[in-house]
Symmetry: C2
Subunit: 284 residues, 2 copies
């Protein structure tokens, strides 16, 4: 079973391509929607949350976990790999920043604009990964207004175009625009209208799925084909809301969304009816 | 020393009114900017963070803490009060939801629109508090796009007006618009342009300061006048960014911003140069 982890709904755009390219693999998606967004957060908080998510996916039986979230891939991937994937470990954690840098440098003639979260841009990880591949320049712009626009379902409105125009004005002279956040592929119709001629928009998700397929071919010990693959979705927030919004990201309806929550520092199954309303008083 | 706690910069709009009304009191502001926004988060996470913040302010010498954040006031105030403010405790925690409900019902002729975070709206706390005061109706709309618009400094743009117009279309027939998030007072110029005639916009912050003054008069054992009041600001995120953005919320420059971070489940002082960049690997 392949695990896919994201801070919320966005990674479902990656799951979509993984399922389409690898239809005989079971998948388990974990969306930390109860604690999203990660992008403006402290690095140590991001690492805590990422450890909990990856451990939950291992507990569900995943041996390979793809961190679909650019924020986590940019600040915490190496930490997750060192913590869980020693040379004799039967588990692997893969990210999206290296495939993202690869596809962007392959497409770009020299100047790559990166639209992402504050944490992704300020990590400098894309600059580092692109520099390993060529002489391309990376210009980053944090775009914190875009994820909530997409979550509201406003991705194809005048407002989304106006926000994109404002952000793009801060990325002059680019020839390639790398979508460094899993929410942004939904902005494609708006981007088509506002991106200047000659700029290529790159969504790394299809390439992430392609690189995952390569990787599984090279590491058959981590691969399992299922005659009847199972697809599960776990989330930390409201499962009804997750299913409703998530379908837009995945491109078709979600399986029944299972609820998990933090209990004693770990993400464990939780009854959705435990979700409290109004003033909450707890004893511990 | 009066403590003021918010999930980020927004509560500085409350601090502004508290300092103006109570110039002889020292203040300590704690903005949890490293973990903001709280609004889309799980209730138990919000409670964890609120406990840490309030305990830090108590440790700094505050005996009265005002929870300026509507999200925390709506879901966690009673918890904080029960946990920290028993009948013999020398500490008190006050919120903004009751003053907010009071001023809104005083202004409204019957139908109050509430613009706030998802957690504030879905808590139903404003409905409960308003129902205690009269027959007014509350119609809520979560507005997750607005806080990042304000944090980008775009509060007086066509984009802000378009977002407000879209949200207001979901609040028909209101006569009063209650700003149920501390970011929203900065949208005043845009609101003046788009709010329909006959709708009064209410920012509860000045009234929160007025009710705090009343409360201190009635509880002199919690009050201290300082000949030379001290004003401190603590934040969990990037202190440079906090100072730069914060000045717009406070209306004047901030004192030197001190950095705190979560260490073993508590918010403790932290050296800002400890803030990591790039891939972070930690051992613990």
């Amino acid at each position: 079973m392949i695990g896919i982890f994201d801070s919320g709904y966005g990674g479902l755009t990656v799951l979509r391509h993984v399922r389409s390219r690898l239809p005989e693999r079971s998948t388990c998606y974990l969306g930390d929607s109860g604690r999203t967004p990660y992008g403006g957060r402290d690095v140590h908080t991001i690492l805590d949350f990422a450890e909990q998510a990856v451990e939950r996916l291992f507990d569900e039986g995943c041996r390979v976990v793809v961190v679909a979230c650019h924020t986590v891939s940019c600040v915490g991937l190496r930490h997750l790999q060192q913590r869980y994937c020693g040379p004799h470990s039967a588990r692997r954690v893969l990210g999206v920043a290296i495939p993202g840098a690869e596809i962007a440098t392959r497409v770009s003639r020299g100047r790559i604009g990166l639209l992402a979260t504050e944490a992704t841009v300020s990590s400098g990880t894309y600059d580092v990964e692109v520099a390993k591949l060529g002489d391309h320049q990376v210009v980053g712009r944090a775009a914190p207004v875009l994820p909530p626009i997409v979550e509201e379902g406003w991705e194809d409105t005048a407002l989304a175009r106006e926000a994109l125009r404002t952000y793009l004005a801060d990325l002059p002279d680019i020839d390639t625009l790398l979508l460094g956040c899993t929410h942004f592929p939904l902005l494609k119709p708006a981007l088509d209208d506002v991106v200047p001629a000659g700029v290529t928009v790159v969504d790394p998700a299809p390439f992430v799925a392609e690189r995952l397929e390569d990787w599984l071919t090279r590491h058959p010990e981590f691969d399992t084909l299922d005659a009847a693959p199972v697809h599960r979705v776990l989330c930390t927030g409201d499962p009804v809301r997750f299913a409703r919004h998530g379908a837009r990201f995945l491109g078709h309806p979600l399986p029944e969304v299972e609820t998990i929550g933090e209990i004693n520092g770990r993400l464990a199954p939780r009854n959705p009816s435990d979700r409290p309303v109004g003033q909450v008083v707890r004893s511990d």
